[in-house]
Amino acid sequence: MSVEYIFPEFEVIRKPERCIACRVCERQCSNEVHVFDPATGVMISDEAKCVDCQRCVSLCPTHALKIVKNESTFRENANWQNDTIKEVYKQANSGGVLLSSMGNPKPFPVYWDKILINASQVTNPPIDPLREPMETSVFLGKKPEKIKFDENGKIKCELTPQIELSMPVMFSAMSYGSISYNAHASLARAATELGILYNTGEGGLHEDFYCYGPNTIVQVASGRFGVHENYLNAGAAVEIKMGQGAKPGIGGHLPGTKIVGDVSRTRMIPEGSDAISPAPHHDIYSIEDLRQLVFSLKEATEYKKPVIVKVAAVHNIAAIASGIARSGADIIAIDGFRGGTGAAPTRIRDNVGIPIELALAAVDQRLREEGIRGNVSLVVGGSIRCASDVVKAIALGADACYIATAAVLALGCHLCRTCQTGKCNWGIATQRPDLVKRLNPEIGTERLVNLLTAWKHEIKELMGGMGINSIEALRGNRLMLRGIGLNSKELEILGISHAGE
């Protein structure tokens, strides 16, 4: 290719008067953007390699660097926008499917931002979480339809297995392989410290992390990588992954370059071989097949572990959820279309699926209408960004939320969306040992614990404002929500009134 059609996406702005040529930027850039020129004693940059991960900016001790969007532009065209044109060039160059990472960045509506939360005034006192108990614990799992009594009339306290969470948030699935050992260690330790769960994703469970089993969800996905009896029994729950919000309807592909050492051992596949998860589970072509897998897993775990079925939010999600609720699954996890990924075809990520807010509202309402909401707990993910998103999700009807993007952000991710390259400068989405060590799990754990502790405080404040002192009383409490700037159809689906009503 003699002509480069695409100009560099970013500009590296180095303030020469601030740069002390300490070369931290050079040493920290796995994309090799920065180089020290010994002849002139100054740092030079190759901007074409920059992905705007902000590692150099964050570590520069004199704040001499900034990365800005390249102002260079194609001639303005509302139809053929810059990104669209660039994608054409890229495909004309490569002949390949475009790949991207993390969640859908397109300007689709974010319903969380169009929902407002209530607070108590006069007729009902707000509760001060600093003075009064404020409970955020939840139990996930099937609730019995009918209480049973023994011959003396005493309640028989029998329950199918439940998951206890100290707050209604869990770390959602990210496989060891797609993310690093240290990222997994951070998630596992943080989950343990926080009294919540993290999720292995479809990468198996590294032997070092079996000790975090009580705080682990082990995933079984279409590739069945790393699945064996001990694995299934190692966690607190088993999750069947049917789909993922970022790429509904397609499988996964972890390139062989990431299948090295422990990753290959943990996945139980040869080093260097691509890990390809098929689009469907080839033993599940319909709902009755799912039921069989649910019960196979329950058999394998002696009915001691709740089974989660994770699906992507797609158009008929309510009906799908209804089917799953009757499949024997204990928990349904729904992943909205803004959920992240380590790698997905761009077209799929940006165009397939529906927002989690609408999916959640529809599913919760549908299950209640069918009287089977108690059969399952609902966990939602796909861009839960903050404590108020959690509160809104719970009030819409979720039992708990899954977070992953927020978690990796806490670990240092700057959403450069190039996970697929395996050169993550923050030591998260990489298997290169020199990069992996950049994430000290001690710090990672602390930051995750900090994040969720902060969220917990905020959740309590918001609950207290509503006069609610236990999260159970918030679940499905849609009266606590009002829409803003939503049309009547959207309000109807969300099951909430408009602000002012």
Partner: protein, 365 residues
């Protein structure tokens, strides 16, 4: 302007109740008078009473107390009732004309027994059948409203101050072993007769002071089991919850109290008796959506007993007094003193701790 049932109406209130453990009958006069010192806790937009043991002659029949907007509705409703019940008696509930109570609807009562053939056809037990019928009338038959449906008990309610409502319904002419009373202070509505308390279903009645923050969580859960919260009031949803837990699930009033005002997890953890701990934990895990938060003080009336309960933080006042076989419950001590000036013992129950008073075993009700 949206009216009751179209919008949720928060309200402050006064409550009072009395019961004789010996099952001794008392007239409705004392309970009516008990509301007088708490006049300022109501605003004239709702008052009501429930009396237990007041229809000894018809105690085998469900006493349906009903409001009708007009005669046509009444006729239609009666036709509907006749398809399902044997009506042994129907009459206008006697009232006293008084200036403080106006705009009254048609107020009737029917003593009924479900038709056996209908029960068999629907494969329902009698109480479930009655409850469903009440739900159907209240949600589907415009202008008709069943405000009492138990056996040997009845609710009496109206828009007005409770002491006036008592006089209006001539409560001094009824004799019951337990009574509950309510004065209402709704904040943004003209008030509606059906919206006054007590709210009842079968022989369960609730008088409630408070505004629960868990309302929609509770409502959306309980509606899964055939209940329709047409009034959007706390009292209504609490009544249905109590009906569901006690009648449908078979729990005791105490169990039910431990569901709706469940002890904090911390308290459960500290419970020393393992069986008790297991029970509390179980109830909380199984019925998380029936936990009621926000301020409330309620008196739950049922055949042969009363249960008083505050929310877990005790965000509303409620005192209990005792004298001989009598137990008194009220928002304010003054109300108890009106009924029994020489009360022996008086205390404020802790938040979430139910006070349950049952008529002694063996007393015929």
């Amino acid at each position: 302007m949206k009216t009751e049932g179209q919008i949720r109406i928060p309200s402050g209130c006064a409550i009072a109740a009395v019961i004789s453990k010996e099952g001794k009958k008392m007239s409705g006069e004392a309970i009516t008078n008990s509301m007088r010192p708490m006049h300022d806790r109501s605003n004239g937009l709702g008052g009501g009473f429930a009396g237990y043991g007041i229809y000894p002659d018809y105690k085998e029949f469900y006493a349906l107390h009903m409001f009708f907007d007009d005669r046509t509705t009444r006729k239609e409703t009666e036709t509907f009732l006749k398809e399902r019940f044997e009506i042994v008696k129907s009459e206008i509930i006697p009232t006293r004309k008084m200036p403080a109570i106006t705009n009254e609807p048609l107020i009737w009562r029917y003593f009924v027994a479900p038709l056996k053939s209908v029960l068999d056809r629907m494969q329902l037990d009698e109480r479930e059948f009655v409850a469903r019928t009440v739900m159907k009338i209240n949600s589907e038959m415009k202008g008709a409203f069943v405000f009492s449906s138990g056996k040997n008990m009845g609710a009496f309610k109206a828009v007005g101050f409770p002491e006036d409502v008592g006089e209006f319904y001539r409560l001094e002419e009824y004799e019951g072993y337990s009574w509950t009373a309510h004065g209402r202070y709704p904040t943004n509505t003209p008030g509606w007769w059906g919206g006054a308390h007590p709210f009842t279903l079968l022989d369960y009645s609730i008088v409630h002071n408070g505004e629960i923050s868990s309302y929609d969580a509770n409502r959306r859960y309980i509606e899964m089991f055939g209940y329709k919260c047409t009034l959007q009031t706390d009292t209504e949803v609490i009544t249905y919850i109590m009906d569901y837990l006690i009648r449908v699930q078979g729990l005791s009033p105490r169990d039910a109290a431990n569901v709706i005002a469940a002890p904090f997890w911390e308290t459960i953890d500290k419970t020393s008796d393992p069986a008790e701990k297991e029970r509390l934990m179980y109830l909380r895990k199984v019925f998380p959506s029936l936990l009621i938060t926000g301020p409330f003080s309620i008196v739950f009336g049922y055949k042969g007993g009363l249960m008083a309960l505050n929310d877990r933080l005790k965000l509303r006042s409620m005192v209990v007094g005792e004298k001989d076989d009598m137990t008194y419950i009220a928002s304010e001590e003054a109300a108890i003193r009106v009924m029994e000036p020489n009360v022996d013992k008086i205390w404020a129950p802790a938040g979430g701790e139910p006070v349950i008073i049952n008529v002694k075993d063996g007393v015929s009700l």
